[in-house]
């Protein structure tokens, strides 16, 4: 009790919560002395004697005060507080310098953290469930076709499920889309068929209701659905009584049993329904589901893959004869994060490296400034030591000051990060963001690291003068002051080293940015193989309930194309089984084939090409170039001989002599698109090549070369897909056509929703989105880096000119004119800049190679780009030298010499 009371009182005092105490003590003591003196006067002394005697009787006034103060609070803390106050007084004594140091650190910490947070939220963490690190897809690699098969059959799912030693749980899913009838018009929403355990496996619990029960996951089981939080809010206004209520998906009624929490992004779906897999299904070639699995804790990817490979070999042994695809395929795990961000890893690494360089450069800058400042304070420190301050006190003092700077900068940096992040998010078009904007938050870890680096730099370089003092005789530094001729050699070479390092790092970041800019330009100038202008595109997904037969499906699309074509201002229209430049990977729907007349004794001779199903008008609408033969036309009907148009890449690979026309290909197995699997067991079909078209960029991965590709006629499909994309070419602004198109389609089927309406120009712009985002962030970083390194160079030179005032004064006195002086300073700066640039070029030759995957049409060591970057940086650096050089010429020799 007693101790606590003392503790509380002292602690409060330590931080100055009990204010005015110092003045109170002064008043109290002076009153005491006054009374003593008055008493002495009464005894007959004169005033001066009385006061002196009073002081004698009282004892050491200052000691009393000191002792009193120490006892008031905790001595350490009180001293710290004193140092902090002293430190802040010093900071405010050179406000410009302090503000610059703090600003640089704050910008470094803040913008670095903001960008890293953005990278982290957008690119690293599109998936957010707790088990995401162990959440894998199991897929098969087919070496002969050089493709991955993501869809697997029911027996295969069950076989993987049996590997309980490596997998905690195994589920199956496939993505789909539904026409959700709620409100006036049906709307298409993404949905996923999931096995009962798939959602539970993510270890995310629903916020309302429950996940699926095993009995709901059996064929013929009850039709139930779970909703995403977003869909629940948007379509059902967050109705808490939604459970048990019916919703209509593709004209079928489902009962809502649960709602998932916000931001639960599972297979891109907004609604989930049970997969209802028939476990008795023995058909191994009916592959229509993805396998998802949670790997056991502690099981490595290598162990899992080894186990899967053993299973693949068993399958090859057992079924290899009847099913050739088993002979050399290998099952392997694919982490879901890897699946999502794998393609953008080079961009991530480049950006993260640029952020790291930014933080390093701002730290180097601060180091230069702190060193300059503390060298200037050598004299003051020496005086304080001469007056009796011990080295520990001095070091504590310097440490407090540096930490104070680091602390203020860290707080300012947090503010910068908090302020910049929403700005950045705002500047980025929402479709480039791969996450929910509200999930982009300041990343605490990044902030901590950045602050840590900044703090360490502050402390290290703030302490430098103290360490220097410990090395040298302080009397020496008292005598010479901070203005020895030529300055302190050590400090100078350290500063020069830092400047050189800064410029070198800036060059790397600038070079990376320039390379990115170059390759972006090339990409934009790339030949897409079609003309995206004046084009509208949208998707139609026919529900199975109303469109069951081949005739119904093909009939709808034919009529729809014809009626759109008849609209005014429409030049051409067509449908295709997959919109170009929407898919993020090259693994599109593909099909094995063999060429008639060539030896096919071995199943390994199976060739593979992507395929698209199109209506006759498709090529003309897209503006694709016909190279040989003819396009598919109305004459390629269901009863006519089967025909195919192929792209030039397919010709190049399989008919290098260019004699493809008239040749016949036999189609085999289908990979990739679930909705096209129905034909897996269909009899083999033989097609005649009637035309060759130029390659078209079909995916968002624009820089990838086109795969061999086949275009099949919609009218000749025995099982045409229900999901098709429309393309419409118009003579006017294509968005103006939308109303009339909707009207025309409503006549054919008023219940049919139209989805994903976009101009083709917009689709192309979106396809460049991630690249532009990278470029945007990189340019942002490069700009800051350029400014920071110029400031660093400027500061180092300006300081060195200040240090050499005396020397410059002597030089001028001995006859050097302004030009000599400015040349001297400029050449000093230029030497540093050029050395930095040279090191930077050497380093970026090594480092930019790491971003080669990110580049298109420009090599990582592109000499022109590097030279341009070097020139830019040198120019800016020389401009930064100019001001100190000018200032040096203005030094008045008399004043400089008298200054001593």
């Amino acid at each position: 009790m007693q101790r606590l009371r003392v503790f509380v009182s002292r602690t409060l005092e330590s931080f100055g919560f009990v204010r005015a105490s110092r003045r109170e003590l002064d008043t109290e003591l002076s009153e005491h002395l006054q009374l003593l003196a008055e008493e002495n006067i009464r005894r007959g002394m004169n005033a001066d004697e009385a006061r002196a005697a009073a002081h004698r009787e009282f004892g050491g006034l200052e000691q009393t005060k000191e002792k009193y103060r120490d006892q008031r609070g905790w001595p350490g803390i009180s001293a710290l507080w004193r140092d902090v106050r002293y430190g802040s007084r010093l900071l405010t004594k050179t406000p410009a310098l302090s503000i610059v140091i703090i600003l640089i650190l704050a910008v470094g910490i803040g913008s670095g953290t903001a960008i890293y947070s953005l990278i982290d939220a957008c690119l690293l963490r599109s998936n957010t469930y707790p088990v995401v690190d162990r959440w894998d897809v199991v897929r098969a690699y087919l070496p002969t076709q050089k493709i991955y098969a993501n869809y697997l059959s029911t027996p295969e799912i069950l076989e993987v499920k049996q590997l309980t030693d490596i997998f905690e749980d195994v589920g199956a899913v496939h993505g789909d889309g539904f026409a959700l009838s709620a409100g006036e018009f049906p709307e298409r929403v993404g949905g996923t068929h999931v096995s009962a355990n798939a959602i539970t496996m993510t270890q995310v619990a629903p916020i309302l209701g429950r996940t699926f029960l095993p009995e709901e996951d059996r064929p013929g089981g009850p039709l139930v659905a779970m909703l995403s939080y977003e869909l629940w809010h948007r379509k059902f206004s967050g109705d808490r009584n939604i459970l048990g209520k019916p919703i209509r998906l593709n004209d079928v009624t489902y009962t809502v049993v649960g709602v998932m929490p916000p931001h639960f992004d599972f297979w891109g779906g907004q609604v989930w329904i049970p997969l209802q897999l028939n476990l008795a299904d023995q058909n191994r070639s009916d592959r229509r589901n993805w396998i998802v699995a949670v790997v056991r804790k502690g099981v490595t990817e290598k162990q899992a893959n080894a186990r899967l490979q053993a299973l693949s070999m068993q399958l090859a042994e057992r079924y290899g004869t009847s099913m050739p695809e088993y002979r050399d395929w290998t099952l392997a795990v694919w982490n879901i994060n890897e699946a999502v961000i794998g393609g953008i890893r080079p961009a991530l690494l480049t950006l993260a490296a640029a952020v790291a360089f930014l933080v390093l450069i701002s730290s180097a800058n601060v180091a230069i400034l702190l060193m300059a400042r503390s060298t200037a304070r050598m004299r003051e420190i020496a005086v304080r030591m001469a007056l009796g301050a011990g080295p520990r006190q001095i070091i504590r003092q310097l440490l407090t000051e540096s930490l104070l700077i680091a602390l203020i900068a860290a707080i300012a940096g947090v503010c910068v990060a908090i302020a910049t992040l929403p700005l950045l998010v705002h500047m980025i078009p929402s479709e480039w963001l791969t996450t929910f904007p509200e999930l982009v938050r300041v990343n605490i870890r990044a902030l901590a690291v950045a602050c840590g680096i900044a703090g360490t730099v502050g402390v290290l370089f703030g302490l430098a003068p103290a360490l220097q003092l410990a090395r040298q005789d302080f009397v020496e530094s008292l005598k010479e002051g901070g203005s020895k001729i030529g300055g302190d050699r050590r400090g100078r070479s350290a500063r020069s080293g830092l400047v050189v390092a800064e410029i070198a790092m800036s060059l790397i970041v600038l070079a990376a940015c320039a390379l990115m800019l170059q390759s972006y330009r090339r990409l934009q100038g790339i030949d897409l193989g079609f003309r995206p202008d004046h084009m509208l595109s949208f998707e139609i997904s026919l529900p199975e309930a109303r469109y069951a037969s081949r005739e119904q499906i093909a009939g709808y699309f034919e009529r729809a194309v014809a009626s759109i074509q008849a609209l005014p201002n429409v030049d051409a229209s067509g449908v295709v089984s997959g919109q170009p430049m929407v898919d993020r990977t090259v693994d599109l729907a593909s099909r094995d084939f063999s060429i008639e007349g060539r030896p096919t004794e071995d199943a390994h001779a199976n060739e593979n090409a992507n395929f698209r199903i199109v209506s006759p008008g498709y090529f003309r609408t897209m503006g694709m170039r016909l190279l040989q033969g003819r396009e598919l036309s109305v004459q390629d009907g269901p009863k006519a001989p089967l025909t195919v148009v192929i792209n030039e890449s397919m010709v190049r690979v399989y008919w290098p002599d260019g004699d493809a026309l008239g040749k016949r290909v036999r189609l085999g197995r289908v990979y990739g698109r679930r909705e096209m699997y129905a034909s897996a067991d269909a009899p083999e079909v033989v097609l005649t090549i009637v035309g060759i078209v130029a390659d078209v960029k079909q995916t968002r991965v624009i820089e990838q070369p086109a795969r061999p590709e086949m275009y099949l006629a919609l009218a000749q499909q025995t099982d045409p897909p229900r999901d098709m994309a429309f393309v419409v070419r118009s003579s006017i602004d294509p968005t103006q056509l939308l109303t009339s198109i909707r009207g025309a389609l409503a006549i054919i089927d008023p219940q049919q929703p139209v989805d994903d309406v976009n101009t083709m120009d917009q689709i192309v712009v979106d396809a460049f989105g991630p690249k532009r985002l990278t470029l945007f962030l990189l340019s942002f970083l490069a700009g800051i880096v350029l400014v920071l390194s110029s400031v660093g160079l400027y500061a180092a030179l300006a300081y060195s000119v200040g240090q050499r005032r005396h020397e410059i004064g002597i030089r001028v006195a001995l006859g050097a004119d302004g030009r000599d002086i400015s040349r001297m300073v400029m050449s000093h700066g230029a030497r540093l800049a050029l050395l930095g640039v040279a090191i930077g070029i050497a380093a970026s030759l090594v480092l930019t190679r790491l971003m080669q995957d990110l580049l298109y049409g420009v090599s990582a060591g592109d000499p022109l780009t590097l030279a341009g970057t070097a020139l830019l940086l040198t120019t800016v650096a020389l401009a930064a030298c100019f001001i100190p050089a000018r200032r040096a010429t203005q030094i008045d020799p008399l004043a400089a010499l008298r200054h001593e």
């Binding site: 109290e28 005491h32 009374l35 002792k67 008031r72």
Partner: protein
């Protein structure tokens, strides 16, 4: 023979101050110092400055409290008062002091005999 040092024994200053305040009621620092000197007939050599850290210590422990008031010369002065806790403390310390003094006295006499 060395003259009696007259230094205040460590720890006894607290007791002296408490006792003084008990005897005189609220008093400022100077008053306490004067009173100590009067009572001890100047035998006790007190560096008056040391009184203040002691007063602070007593206050931190809650044995005395302080309040600003007006001195006899009509100037601001801080007056210290014994608290209830202090009064109790004074009793304990007096008792232990007396016991201690008695022990020491007995010790010295026995040794002397």
């Amino acid at each position: 023979m060395t003259p009696p040092s007259g230094e205040v024994l460590q720890g006894t200053l607290d007791l002296i101050v408490l006792k003084t305040l008990d005897a005189m009621g609220p008093q400022h620092g100077y008053g306490i110092a004067v009173r100590i000197q009067q009572v001890s007939e100047d035998l006790l050599k007190l560096n008056q400055g040391t009184l203040y850290p002691a007063l602070l210590r007593l206050e931190q422990r809650g044995w005395i409290s302080s309040k600003w008031g007006v001195s006899e010369n009509n100037r601001k002065a801080k007056f210290y008062t014994l608290t209830r806790l202090g009064r109790r403390q004074l009793a304990t310390e007096t008792e232990s002091w007396e016991r201690m003094a008695a022990v020491i006295q007995r010790l010295i006499r026995t040794q002397g005999a």
